[in-house]
Symmetry: C3
Subunit: 138 residues, 3 copies
């Protein structure tokens, strides 16, 4: 069987937002016991990543590091939508638009230290849209 | 139900080639109304990325930026297949080999500004092979 | 039908470990002739990548290059688990946690030069856990 939902996530500006609990609730609503949960972010200046859920310093390091790889200070050709727009596209290009996570015993089969994050790459808060698609057996 | 097709894409050399319309046509041929469309690129010097489909300057910026992250001028050990081969592998490693896009009402559930791109990382034109696999309900 | 297995992989420390043959054996055990094989790594300091399986120099170049992009020598805030931990998270963030590969005629539909690699980003050997989920038709 399958179950598809749209999920809206408010971001505070540039940061990683933990969406694991909301995704797990959608898995539960689907009734799927063994299967797959596919996530898709409908934006090109925000992305998905699965990362450590224990020490918040990991998330700060990731944001700073990716900010240095694709800095606002670079001479980007595309700058009509503000200096933080093109770096956000670049940071999205090297992280994920989609992610697929197995479901086992009605739960996301994540490792102990894994959380699912929506990564906002723009400076200002946004409302971001995800599609969550669950397939499998009850 | 499921539907699998091979798609061949001719690239002009290093560039992002928009394949959204061709993928949407395969989704239509499949007859699937709600489901998933999985894309897979059968190469390690070309990759997939979902990016902004509005301003072509975004695509030029992405190509230049990723070219600087993995430049031909670096002292690569593997250089038997030309100076653009190893940078192409590196650029593929940090973008995507596979991408999964939900289908809703018989259409790819892309955001307004999202396009699906095959990213050619080598200097010369190539014919690239993708596998498109559609699953879901009619 | 579907088939889910856990796969354990021993890594020798920082390196790309070819897991293609083990994944292909799981596809064969599933009995699926046409379908999809989803891989998921349950860690945030090891990741997945599909790369060239011919010249081992490609794998050495990739490891050195990604090591330079996210070096131990950077001033990371998170360093409680050793100087190689935060760089491992960063390297995982720009490669893959999940990968989906079509199955055709009971085989992974990989290109001629493609291999599936588990990328260990930490210095010391680890036992890493993957979930392999196969779906499709017999």
């Amino acid at each position: 069987m399958m179950h598809q939902e749209n999920l809206r996530v408010r971001t505070p500006g540039r940061a990683l937002v933990n969406v694991t609990a909301e995704i797990q609730r959608i898995v539960e609503r689907s009734g799927v016991r063994t299967g797959l949960c596919t996530l898709f972010v409908q934006h090109t200046s925000a992305s998905l990543v699965i990362q450590e859920n224990a020490d918040p310093a990991v998330l700060r390091d990731l944001t700073r590091w990716l900010g240095e790889l694709a800095p606002e200070s670079r001479n980007w050709e595309h700058d009509d939508e503000g200096p933080d727009d093109m770096p956000a596209h670049a940071r999205s290009a090297v992280t994920r638009s989609s992610e697929v996570i197995p479901i086992s015993a009605s739960r996301l089969a994540l490792g102990t230290w894994q959380g699912i994050y929506l990564w906002e790459h723009r400076q200002r808060p946004h409302e971001r849209h995800l599609v969550v698609h669950v397939t499998g057996e009850k």
